[in-house]
Symmetry: C2
Subunit: 206 residues, 2 copies
């Protein structure tokens, strides 16, 4: 009996008192922040959404800003993890770029609420400004690679690499506006973005 009750609690972490992981509370918070906005979401709202009391919520996290930080960490860890992968570090710039774009789409699709939060930040709090600075760092790393690829003669010769990098990041980030899990299988999405980014709408004929 007691084992079966534990099972139920484990399967429905939003009901009953325990167990909660920080990750599950961060997930609840990220969803709420996206739905109502960070400022409009209270710890009251979050405990109700998680199905626990406000005081047990505070047992796990110090407050709203810590939850936002947790959500943004998850997005940024995913993105910076990609930059640290061997295929992002070794080889011709254009191949490294191709690897990064593919993996960036994968991270975006699998960590959608966290990346969406990151991309919608306005920079109103200390945590938001920190995350925006990290996001700029990521964009700058990709922009340097676009520049390297251009210098190596691999990219479109008539497009300024700074503009090309902006358009590249714009294309990838625009996925948050329409992509929803299950809408397109992730591997197909990854292939489609790679093809459109590198070969364009007209594409290679093959």
């Amino acid at each position: 009996m007691s084992a079966s009750r534990e099972d139920t609690a484990a399967r429905r972490p939003g009901r009953g008192a325990e167990p909660y992981t920080l990750a599950s509370l961060v997930e609840v918070a990220a969803t709420a922040f996206l739905e109502r906005g960070y400022d409009a979401t209270s710890m009251e709202d979050l405990s109700r959404a998680a199905g626990i009391t406000k005081s047990s919520f505070y047992h796990h996290v110090s407050g709203k800003e810590a939850l936002l930080r947790g959500a943004l960490d998850r997005a940024l860890d995913g993105l910076f993890g990609v930059l640290a992968e061997p295929a992002a570090l070794e080889g011709p710039p254009v191949d490294r770029l191709r690897h990064i774009v593919r993996r960036q789409v994968e991270v975006l699709a699998t960590e959608l609420p966290y990346v969406t939060l990151l991309l919608r930040l306005r920079g109103n709090t200390e945590t938001e400004r920190w995350a925006l600075a990290r996001r700029r760092e990521f964009d700058q790393a990709v922009a340097s690679l676009v520049r390297e690829a251009t210098e190596a003669g691999a990219t479109h010769p008539q497009v300024d690499p700074g503009v090309a990098a902006r358009l590249l990041s714009g294309t990838v980030n625009s996925l948050i506006e329409w992509y929803r899990p299950g809408r397109v299988p992730v591997p197909d999405l990854v292939d489609a973005v790679e093809r459109q980014v590198f070969d364009g709408l007209l594409g290679a004929s093959g």
Copy 2:
């Protein structure tokens, strides 16, 4: 003396009492809505920004929603105007698409605050929902052309035309995130977007 005072007023429509055109008040409103958000902007704020009294403001427009409508009209008139141009209506689908993308970038760059407002709408009011429906109509017209171009064998054979259309609109619309007037000359921006969208980052070799 009096002539010189009139000159100054004409050059600085935000100061002194007259003349105001509806267009100049819509411009003031669009800027304010973008800075503080539509909900957070009062008619008080708008009259202060325009440098006129609230009652003379009301002499020109019925209220905030009419100003939002004016701003969104300006963006939508620009975009739908493009679809009505001969080069958007005649010729092979891929050529029509190329014309539309180039002109869409031009409209976006020259009507930046209005298009930015349009792309950031949430659909909270009647006017917002009307504008979102019009925006979807525009996107669907472009998506049909992408489909036609694909059926004619002109686009990348391995990318689903629905996904291709989403990525195309995502690339163009992402300009509002970074483009600022004067940052890149508009004709160069138009060329860069056309090349990246149709030929990709790797581009044609010429």
